[in-house]
């Protein structure tokens, strides 16, 4: 579960959305734009599927939490708490994607 959520989020935030050569090679403009376009299209697909995977994993996590039979002395988990949890992960996803974009542009 942790792997499906936390590690994916970490990986997502570190995605590099530009393909800048580190060697001293120089590029013509069209080559440069084309290089980015190809690279980003590929990375974008990965972002899309990972995002879906994490959202699914969070749903599963909530499912697991809700179906766990609690001791009768323990209070049931409120719907509010559940919503907080999923909102937290949704927000984390946004932060991860924002970080990736910001890092790549910088």
């Amino acid at each position: 579960m942790e792997n499906r959520i936390e590690n994916n989020l970490k990986a997502l935030s570190k995605t590099v959305l530009v393909n800048l050569p580190t060697d001293s090679a120089t590029y013509t403009l069209d080559d440069f734009v084309e290089m980015q376009s190809v690279w980003i299209e590929d990375e974008s697909k990965k972002l899309k599927s990972k995002n879906y995977e994490v959202e699914q994993a969070v749903e599963d996590l909530i499912q697991t939490i809700c179906s766990y039979t609690l001791d009768q002395h323990v209070e049931a988990i409120s719907a509010e708490e559940i919503q907080k949890l999923s909102k937290y992960y949704s927000w984390s996803m946004y932060q991860a994607l924002l970080h990736a974009t910001k890092y790549s542009l910088n």
């Binding site: 530009v18 980015q36 974008s44 697909k45 996803m93 994607l97 910001k102 542009l105």
Partner: protein, 191 residues
Amino acid sequence: MKERICGRRNLPKQVLKPFFEVDVRLDGSQSVLKPSLQEVQDAINKAASHVLKSTKKVQLWFQKDVPEEEKEPFYNWIAKDKEIVKVILLLTGSIQGTKNSVSKFLEGFSTYSWLWTKKPEDDLKRFRQTEPDLDDFEEKLKDFDLKNGQIEEIQSTHQIGALSLKTIGVKEALSNYLFQWKLVFSKDIHK
């Protein structure tokens, strides 16, 4: 991308590796860049826009019951983020900063503008009027060779910011002009 194109602000003296290669050419009456600075900037803008749009197909959560084509992507929010907007602005203005240095460099070639603004035949006529002897002719031809040497000594690449300016085109054009001038004068020597 910004660091690679504009350099890092906290390391102002760091030498940027050139990133784009542009040719310096003669275009009729002036030296120009090919591709132009605007074209370089357009390419940077296009690349930045590609990066930004990478989350356009990544959908926000809790939209499972929303029809596919109406789902809102993360892009809508990321594109509005203050820091993202700031970087985009810096990138879209990144080439502007090199404009002055580039103009100055290009103006340097105007020293040779007589090569195309004047006609060698007219100049020869004027030269003839001074009734030159053979030594004067030789002097004149030597001067052409000297100037050709100066042109050849122009560095073949000149770096300004992330741009590497290739001067081969302009150098060849200048040499060709000079060759024509020399030809007109040397043909006349033995008349």
